[in-house]
Subunit: 417 residues, 2 copies
């Protein structure tokens, strides 16, 4: 593909052509990054073109995506999710502006649709119809996203999820017709098994970060933030971090828009990690060379990882952007779930609420101040994990259909302010 | 409001001014319909204006909505949901074109957000801040929608749901901060209690159909269908019918766009009802004067109603449009759930899948033929009722993270075609 210059290894720097490697560096096994010919792109892609473009989805950034055209893309609308400014929360938290990017509004109700859509389109472009079997390991969302978008174009899936994946996500997988393998183990076990199986059976592997094109889909969120805020990038962007692929994707997006001259300023990125799934946090704050293996234990299933597959890129993104990392507890997430939903109308899953809890923590640690404009990236819907949400809420009242019974309980309901 | 001419009773035809009545006809208790000054609107609202308008939500139709302006509207994006053309399903079912309007993509993941948004904006325009307490009875979606959008603007809710409402919907309510009263009884019991409570305690009542402005929000889906299909209206539109307020809203929308000259052709509407919740079906097919009281029993919770509150309007819509009604069983819905999700990538709740089951039935009864273009209105997300979805799916495989164990089960997985 002419616009792609090479695939460059993030670990050892080795450069590969697109047909030379399939997923990772053939020399050190590191993850690869897609490098475009930005001079070429600069010539043919302009803001005026964006201004005229009425198709509000990820494909409006085709010039910067690793696919040829939009023929045969999954038909479901992915991306260009709403971006809201919330004055009430900004005032409450005492920051200058608070923005929320609501990626629960994607087809499978998660951010992961951005990556799945790009990977599926690559598969359609590069593999014959009888070879199109896509596999992935996932904590849940990447899988339900892959199955959702694959269903829309009729491609078969093999999905590996840890046995603890929420039942909503597993139900989504099955109803979309995926072949679901629940692995008695962690996400990391599922990941390794998926890699082996793809090698052995010749399936195409969508594994996050291992497949270099996942990051390409994820970067579109950064493009949208630039456009939606009319090229005024916020000071700090809070991103939930498990594998580290979202935050490195977002960073790549901002860097690319800067390279082609669409923006001048870059935001600082903030990695939010939860519980003992805090490898990137540790590597960043302790200045370690390699993100360490941690227990991975957290209720935030989407960011529950022992060994982050794009941890190194995540740490690089934090350093390059001048950002930082925050580590929050599951209890802080539970406390924030209802607070966030009831002040925004956005019902987010634990891993997504983590960024709100992370912002509050960063404010308390004076890492965010009243002059700052802040954006929270909300990556998944709370409908995908009802059990967790229930930890945050009180009970409903249960009465006979009788006005006197109702009146009795009204005394305990606060209807003012 | 100058653009509104009157509120006209659907039962006895009596005309009221807006300040004369609050909800229903003061003479016969019938539901009211908002009648606009269409000549005035015709002068100031044009397609060219729509073409230029880049705000893709329900408020783009402000001239035909019962509110003054867009100041203080709920900030969450409601409406302008995706409309897809599905060639594969059209070929499989042997109809000329099959369109899907995906209203699972609204903020609370249901069609009801259209009505809630309009009602909330009315409340903001017409009630002082200290009087803004909104109540509703609901099978689930209208409630979670009201709470979601109310949370986004900080208005208190009292919600009455039948005790059988799915736990996902109840969780949504509580996380959005609503005061939830689970009524030991049916939706109809909850409805009556809500009416009494609003009278007694002075709360604003959003009850579907009883509040004439709910229909005003719902009609926006018809406007969008016209625009998204570039003013080529499909022959038949399948709508899930419980209370009858969605179908009469849709019908009003098409009629209004015809009145102001935006379209020439009107679609035929098809009411899909499920199980023994088939009052409109009975009234229409047996040509009864009044929709009868039925048991209301169905797994399709969103259309489970004993006595449809807008049943008369629903029957009028069927007659005026030259459409018809279909009655399907819960088993037919279960059979259709996975089939629909796995061929579209859209995970719909039982009441929404009902329209797909209804289309298949109508085809088998030769009520729809191969020359027909058909649209399915998908009104709610399957994530809102996981228990029902589980009835439609097979189980996942569960294995140790071991490639040999995987190989053993592969023999039973069909990976071809």
């Amino acid at each position: 593909m002419k616009k792609i210059k090479m695939l460059k290894c993030i670990s050892c720097g080795k450069e590969h052509s697109e047909d030379e490697v399939k997923y990772v560096c053939n020399s050190c096994g590191g993850n690869l990054e897609v490098i475009y010919d930005y001079n070429l792109i600069k010539k043919r892609f302009s803001y005026d073109e964006l201004k005229e473009n009425r198709y509000y989805d990820i494909w409006r950034y085709l010039d910067l995506l690793p696919v040829e055209d939009i023929k045969g893309i999954p038909p479901l609308k992915v991306g260009y999710t709403p971006l809201y400014k919330n004055k009430k929360l900004a005032d409450k938290l005492d920051v200058s502006d608070l923005y929320i990017k609501d990626d629960t509004r994607n087809p499978s109700a998660s951010f992961k649709d951005r990556a799945s859509a790009v990977v599926i389109k690559r598969v359609i472009e590069t593999l014959d119809e009888d070879k199109r079997i896509i596999a992935t390991a996932s904590t849940g969302n990447a899988a339900s996203s892959l199955s959702c978008l694959s269903a829309s174009v009729g491609i078969k899936n093999i999905i590996f999820v840890p046995e603890k994946a929420p039942r909503e996500k597993v139900t989504q997988l099955l109803i979309f017709g995926a072949n679901v393998i629940m692995v008695k183990g962690t996400y990391d076990d599922a990941f390794d098994l998926c890699v082996k199986a793809c090698e052995k059976f010749g399936w195409y592997n969508r594994n996050t970060a291992y497949n270099p094109y996942t990051r390409e889909g994820k970067k579109t969120a950064a493009f949208e933030i630039c456009e939606q805020l009319e090229w005024e990038v916020p000071d700090k962007i809070f991103v939930p971090v498990g594998d580290g692929n979202i935050i490195s994707g977002i960073w790549k997006g901002f860097l690319e828009f800067k390279k082609i001259g669409f923006i001048d300023k870059l935001p600082k990125l903030v990695a939010v990690q939860s519980g003992n799934s805090n490898s990137v946090y540790k590597a960043f704050t302790e200045k370690l060379q390699t993100p360490p293996v941690v227990s991975g234990e957290t209720m935030c299933d989407s960011i529950s990882v022992k060994s982050p597959r794009d941890g190194l890129s995540a740490v690089i993104s934090l350093n390059e952007s001048g950002g930082f990392a925050v580590n929050i507890s599951d209890d802080e997430v539970i406390l924030s779930m209802k607070e966030f939903a009831s002040s925004t109308g956005i019902f987010a899953e634990p891993s997504a609420v983590a960024v709100y809890a992370g912002l509050k923590k960063a404010i308390s640690q004076k890492l965010v101040g009243r002059g700052d404009s802040v954006l929270l990236l909300i990556t998944g819907s709370g409908l995908k994990d009802i059990e967790s949400a229930k930890k945050s809420i009180s009970k409903a009242y249960r009465i006979e259909p009788d006005i006197n019974e109702l009146e009795k309980i009204l005394v305990s309901i606060n209807l003012k302010g």
